[in-house]
Symmetry: C2
Subunit: 308 residues, 2 copies
């Protein structure tokens, strides 16, 4: 059966895979097998589940045969294979999308293996396969954009437990005298995401991050909150490297600020060479840039059939 | 060679193992193979490395043959097999103990396999082997005593990364109006350990936790800080269960308070049955009680030779 989904080229097996990055504002669909081989791509605005998932299904049907499909989804999602709602988007505040069947529906339509994980765990897998996490067993991928999400690996396995991480909601020290902004998270107010994701920049400064110049006071404050969150994750996971992606991190002036703040917050307690002397190589951007998410979906698909 | 360390009983192999729980105030040494089989035990006060480690070595020499030794150590410790200081206690503020060779020294004296991990990862392994974490792949063991430390497993592997976790030093919201106490951590002041370990109880209330009655205002505040730390760990690791041990947790009135606070802090964001409906079974004490640490050392020893 599997050979029907593969194209033989010069005696070797060249499979094609589907990758779907399902985000809160858009779905990105690609066909390919890695960063050097993306053959087709389509971007679909995220409207209702039926419309958006239906258009994604149509794209992948047009590009059959594919050997497997990977879905890198916004969350929270149900990753428990024993659950009635395995493969669903669960308690998202996003209108129309709570309790939406997702992976199972696509699998029925396409009839290929479908792998399903969070967008950040998928991005982490992409960086482990082709990017800045190659050779590492334990690392963090944190995305800072419309929301904040964390994924990664420990001992070479994706971060899964009772469910998946929700690092955006870490609770942090918040000095209301320095920063009276109450926070933008509908659940917790001033959690990490509430203080440091894109909507917090708009709420606090009246304009989006991309309009704020590198010397704006927004950035030292942003770096401080991100560094507090990162320090908490270091204390919990002890990652070998931290990759920071997402729209807010396009303000690259944040990287040196965050590195300095992380060192300040740890205050010499962790006397590790990586953090003290080699922090430029410890806190880094993703190598795969904007394509980290959708390439993560491709990596999930390849892994699902043992090719990655 | 291995048979020389084993005692054959009725045709089956009954190995003896050494377990050493190395704490900041005492070393506990045992000989045995599990909770139902502890044959000898000695407690040694922690003074200088030469004196204390020397006495532990003497105990295990007296009880040779043993098949392997496990060490569950206070930290920070060096767990990187490629490091020059692998098996050392590293940057501890404890007088005389910084940069102390430990596992290698004992291995040279006893000439058996020696396994080395943090006291909390070892305790977690004990609970996974004989206690409240049996059958779980991802869980947290948090000890709250003179200090606060976290260990556990993810995907069935101990929590190791760049180094080991240091969950005691998580940074949390600290409302100085409600609680003006500055915190007891020499590195960070008001980190989790600085606000909630034993010395913070003494510093804030003028007496140790064991003297404070269950209705003392110390306990709701203590539960709040511990719950904030636990919530941050849930957001990062997504453990299937949380085991809380250590001296401070002997005030068992803390358990229901912490469970309620964790639910409050998460505020419905994680709609997981384990946390909403089954929290009495989600946040629990260790099954092995005071012996969790030293039995963890035995479990490390057994694992080192593939018997656990």
């Amino acid at each position: 059966m599997r050979s029907s989904h593969q194209v033989r080229v010069g005696g070797s097996v060249n499979s094609n895979f589907g990758g779907l990055e399902a985000g809160g504002s858009k779905f990105v669909c690609v066909i390919g097998s890695g960063p050097e081989n993306v053959q087709a791509e389509r971007t679909i605005p995220t409207t209702t589940p039926n419309e958006t998932i239906g258009q994604a299904e149509a794209f992948f049907r047009e590009h059959q045969p594919i050997s497997a499909l990977g879905i890198a989804s916004f969350g929270p999602i149900d990753l428990d294979p024993n659950s009635q709602t395995f493969g669903y988007i669960t308690s998202t505040p996003k209108k129309n999308w709570a309790n939406t069947e997702f992976a199972g529906r696509i699998k029925r339509v396409l009839n290929v293996p479908v792998a399903f994980d969070t967008d950040t765990n998928a991005a982490a897998l992409a960086e482990a396969t082709w990017g800045n996490a190659r050779g590492l067993h334990t690392f963090l991928y944190l995305t800072v954009g419309t929301g904040i999400g964390g994924g990664g690996m420990m001992a070479g396995q994706p971060l899964h437990g009772l469910s998946h991480p929700e690092m955006g909601h870490l609770r942090l020290p918040h000095d209301s005298k320095r920063d009276p902004y109450k926070g933008a998270c509908p659940f917790h107010g001033d959690c990490l995401e509430g203080l440091a994701a894109g909507p917090a920049l708009i709420g606090r400064w009246g304009q989006p991050g991309e309009n704020l110049p590198p010397n704006h006071p927004a950035w030292p404050l942003e770096a401080q909150y991100l560094a507090l969150g990162i320090a908490n994750i270091i204390y919990t996971l002890s990652p070998q490297r931290i990759i920071l992606g997402g729209g807010v991190m396009k303000q690259t002036t944040l990287f040196p600020m965050i590195r300095r703040e992380v060192q300040q917050i740890l205050r010499g307690y962790l006397r590790l060479t990586a953090i003290i002397d080699e922090i430029d190589d410890y806190i880094v951007p993703p190598r795969l840039g904007d394509r980290t998410g959708v390439l993560g979906a491709i990596a999930l698909a390849k892994k699902a059939i043992g090719e990655c």
